[in-house]
Subunit: 344 residues, 2 copies
Amino acid sequence: MNLNKRATIKQVAKAAGVSTQTVSRVINDRPDVAPETRERIQKVIDELGYQPSALARSLIQQRSYTLGVVTAGLKYVGPSRTLNGITTMAEELGYAVLLEELPRFDTEDIKPRLQSLLARHVDGIVWAVPEVGDNRSWVDEILNDVPVPVVFLTMEPRPGISTVAIDNHAGGVLATRHLLDQGRRRIGHISGPLDWWESRQRKQSWQDTLNNAGIEVNDSHWVEGNWSSSSGETAFAALLQTYPGMDALFVANDQMALSVLQSCHRRGIRIPQDLAIIWFDNINDSAYFWPALSTINHNQHELGCRTVREVVNQIEAAHRDEKITPQNILLTPELLIRDSSVVK
Amino acid sequence: MNLNKRATIKQVAKAAGVSTQTVSRVINDRPDVAPETRERIQKVIDELGYQPSALARSLIQQRSYTLGVVTAGLKYVGPSRTLNGITTMAEELGYAVLLEELPRFDTEDIKPRLQSLLARHVDGIVWAVPEVGDNRSWVDEILNDVPVPVVFLTMEPRPGISTVAIDNHAGGVLATRHLLDQGRRRIGHISGPLDWWESRQRKQSWQDTLNNAGIEVNDSHWVEGNWSSSSGETAFAALLQTYPGMDALFVANDQMALSVLQSCHRRGIRIPQDLAIIWFDNINDSAYFWPALSTINHNQHELGCRTVREVVNQIEAAHRDEKITPQNILLTPELLIRDSSVVK
DNA sequence: CTGAAAGCGCTAACAC
DNA sequence: GTGTTAGCGCTTTCAG
């Protein structure tokens, strides 16, 4: 193989003594080529290390087999797990991935990002940025003008738009119910930042589940964190003040829970005897914390896979001139019971 | 803006009553256009929401302003941190990122990956896969045939090839010396899998530093893990058997250290009194573990940034027909002292 | 200052 | 079976 001088179809044609069209037929596995001709051309292709230009093909076929993927916060575990799923499925379905990372979750000026992807003729777009604050406000204005299918990750389901998300509410119900099942009644919550849709869902589920169990919730029972470990520490300290009899705690993510653990050890609060703890997990190593942590486990890899599948479905459908109804897909997380929530 | 029907330069030209050439001059900010003409064309461009096709440009300019990035293991924190740096710097320098994730770190059949990127006319390639086993064996065979600059991340420096890596040896020296400074003499090590270059470096530095201090090292003083938490647990248990008097431990990554912590708590081993612990950190939340953990901190974001900078340097140089000597860049990690290694 | 012609690498549509 | 023509959307070259 010689990749060095990118051979062109013309060179191959000339070397094989045929027209470019015939070469084209060979590289596209078309039937109408005489066996010997095909063989001769294939030989030249191999010798020259000829590789068709995907660019030129995209231009003429008006199809690039490339997905635009917009993400944010790759330094965090969640988004990169999802991206992992995205690349895996894209590869499987034969699509390349053009990656764009937003500088912040709540980046608002997204038009240029969209344009940059569209300028490169992506066939579809995966919007893998969680719904935060107003960062979906553009959808109504602009989405209709985007000429390719767009599927949104981690966004509140709405009709007419394809979304794929973890069912955070269901997860929170699992968590809270589990704590209730352990006989806990004074269950606190450290939420994520409430401008995140996911945070609101988790908090709401906690509240709903307690209410359904006849337990009243008020603002002294929960504190808003910002996902970070240090915010978890602060939130926990506050909660100990405002909710003294608290006997269980549902923490909205792993990083905040990490510092809660540390605080408990430092203060001599025993887990789970004094305080049962459960969290929404990103790390997947919860079993190795001390004590081993009960978690709500959500499969972010799968999330990415499903999203790509959805967008490719839509691309293929559009290509066949079919209409596909946008789907709102929800993945249910699972409850993993370990030592932090159950007194043995 | 109407992205819906992708307007072409021809349509703009027609609508403005000029030739496509003049439109081209406007969108490329060339000087030779009469102010009124420019204005008129610009107006049409805005109305039509015209966006030049990067694809067509790439084709004719033989330059795509796109970087091919090959990564692996995005579900782990390290690689995605690095990717975060890569996308940030690529964006800053005006390059798009075509992402390719290998299914495993030691994927060997990389030719198709390379071809897929080259078919899309990437201007340069960032090989962001750590050196593991034989996964660099292709370099000598194939690299010369790749028509664009390639920069390798986390690879043993070698002349003639551009590499960017963390100085794992320096990091391990920092860690081990720190433990020696604390008066520890019986310092064990849990290494990563030794087919990883990084693991070997970390282990070697531990061994070198102890030897330099006149302390002999033998095979009962260290165990090989595989980066995972569960392997850390096993390794630690083994080490307690083979190295009973061990008073300090250098763990090659965070996940393995996590389970070491758990084991210590379970066995009643006091940290740092009985065992001083330090690790190579990925998580950056080490301060919130119990106890707060001393770490060797390496900046993987910066690693990604530097790599992109290097590859873009080479692209630009090649474009000016200059030769650039491949660089071997090493980033030095830093020692962060917290509670797990120092008796107060 | 502006336009016409040629062509980047490929394929669709048609002819033979 | 195979070749010819045209053109995807743009820029380069050169003429005016």
